[in-house]
Amino acid sequence: MEEKKDVLILAVESSCDETAAAVVRNGREVLSNIISSQIELHKLYGGVVPEIASRKHIEKINQVIEEALSQAGVGLEELDAVGVTYGPGLVGALLVGVSAAKAISYAGRLPLVGVHHIEGHISANYIEHPDLEPPFACLVVSGGHTHLVVVKDYGKYEIIGRTRDDAAGEAFDKVARAIGLGYPGGPKIDKLSKQGNPDAIRFPKAHVADAPYDFSFSGLKSAVLNYLNGCRMKGEQVVEANVAASFQKAVIDVLVEHSMMAVEEFGFDKFAIAGGVASNSSLRQAMEKACRERHIGFYHPSPIFCTDNAAMIGAAAYYEYMAGTRHGLDLNAVPNLKLGER
């Protein structure tokens, strides 16, 4: 029998504020995963500034790719393809990775595989879970996205729920700013919540009429801001830890509730989470518990694969590559790219 040849993919990611490159073997084995984070830079502005992000990407892009190749001990000539995030994201930021990846694929005579950023996040779960294969349901939660996705097969997705307004991570950032925690809000609220009472304040849990899987977080965010204002007007002391814990619980309750509803409705025995907010310790615990109660396998990536990274893009690119996906030299950045679109 002919031995199956390894497939080595160089992956590039620059959709938001991390410049990242990785080398991934056969979609699941990460040989290198280099991330240059810009968080410190954007902290000064309380959020990601697109032009500053783009400028930083162009400064770092080659260094990050060179490090990924050298750490993996792989030369360009040994690669089988170049994978790159081409959407969704900040257009100026995406263009840096897309333009560099295209040039490398062209000069290196390597096939080019464009990858959807969310497909990358979902595929992050394959890296550490050799047993995880579609079909399963996946909740993608980050600063820019809140999607409940049915993964029918590799590369085949159906979004069954999405946020109508703010992404979950965005709500964390805004509430963190309101209680003076700074940016990025997710990890800070997660940490502070551990010292607070999640049942101290009852914040509303929004449901969207006629769309049981959809999310809405702007009402919750407003309720927190109103609560803070009310306390200030009445001269009452605000216990930040209680606000953080109660807000976080309101978000997590809705995420768990909708996710489990989907799992039960579709009859899946596997459920995964992905995206930056998937690092949140309380969310993980709550999901783990809910899945255990239902005898469902629960999957989540390590924090390093939850944040924006290129290893996840390499994992997704592998399955796209095997399915025959190839992009041309005219591949463009698509800031509002839809999942499953080609």
């Binding site: 000064l44 032009e51 783009s54 060179e66 897309v98 295209k102 040039a103």
Partner: protein, 235 residues
């Protein structure tokens, strides 16, 4: 020596390959299509037409700014990716020097100007002395009023070019006190042939950078940085 020239700093997307005293190919498109979709297919066309082996290039010359922030980065990322994959250095050609080089050899002064919005132009004033391009005013972002005062002060006949000309032509005509001309269509926008030819000279002079080091010279802070600096200054 063989150099690939790339300029996507403005509305024009342009790619060329020059070898010593020959321009092997140049592909210039001034049409509303995104540079990220056109630049590499244009290079590919040149490669196929001229049976070019990219590994025979000595360097990649790229318009290094100023210009459209996104346009500059598309060119920069393309050049950096090529440099990385081919193991070749880059030559950073200031955008306005590349533009001025279109008019090589004139005894008049040359003033390329690009519309920089916010009532400014990216511009510089150049002349040719002993077959060398010399900057009398290095590239910068200024108002057209300030530019015309400088040009009047120099008191020499001058040729204007660049995408800033149609925007500010009337103001120039009203305020200039020196003889002036506007360059014709074939030389009044970015041409990668000029970027590559000037790139050859800079390469010969050892003016190269590692592809890793290249970053565009925007001549301007981002809006967020500017507003933050203004706020800090006001405090």
């Amino acid at each position: 020596m063989k150099v690939l020239g790339i300029d996507s700093s403005g509305l024009v997307a342009t790619v060329a390959v020059a070898e010593d005293d020959n321009l092997l190919a140049e592909y210039t498109v001034n049409y509303k299509k995104t540079h990220s979709q056109t630049l590499l297919p244009m290079l590919d066309e040149i490669v196929r037409m001229t049976e070019l082996d990219l590994s025979t290039l000595d360097a990649v010359a790229v318009a290094a700014g100023p210009g459209s922030f996104t346009g500059l980065r598309i060119g920069a990322a393309t050049a950096k990716g090529l440099g990385l994959a081919l193991g070749k250095p880059l030559v950073e050609v200031p955008t306005l020097e590349g533009l001025a080089y279109n008019l090589y050899g004139t005894s008049h002064l040359v003033c390329p100007m690009m519309d920089a919005r916010r009532s400014q132009v990216y511009t510089g004033i150049y002349g040719f002395e002993q077959e060398e391009l010399k900057a009398l005013e290095s590239q910068t972002a200024v108002s057209v009023q300030e530019l015309t005062e400088k040009v009047n002060g120099l008191g020499r006949e001058i040729i204007f070019l660049g995408d800033g000309v149609p925007v500010y032509r009337d103001i120039l005509c009203e305020n200039l006190k020196v003889p002036y001309h506007f360059a014709p269509a074939h030389m009044n926008k970015q041409r990668a042939g000029a970027v590559a030819a000037l790139g050859l000279r800079y390469l010969a002079a050892g003016r190269t950078v590692h592809a890793r080091e290249h970053r565009p010279d925007y001549l301007r802070m981002s809006q967020a940085e500017r507003e933050r600096a203004e706020k800090d200054g006001a405090c």
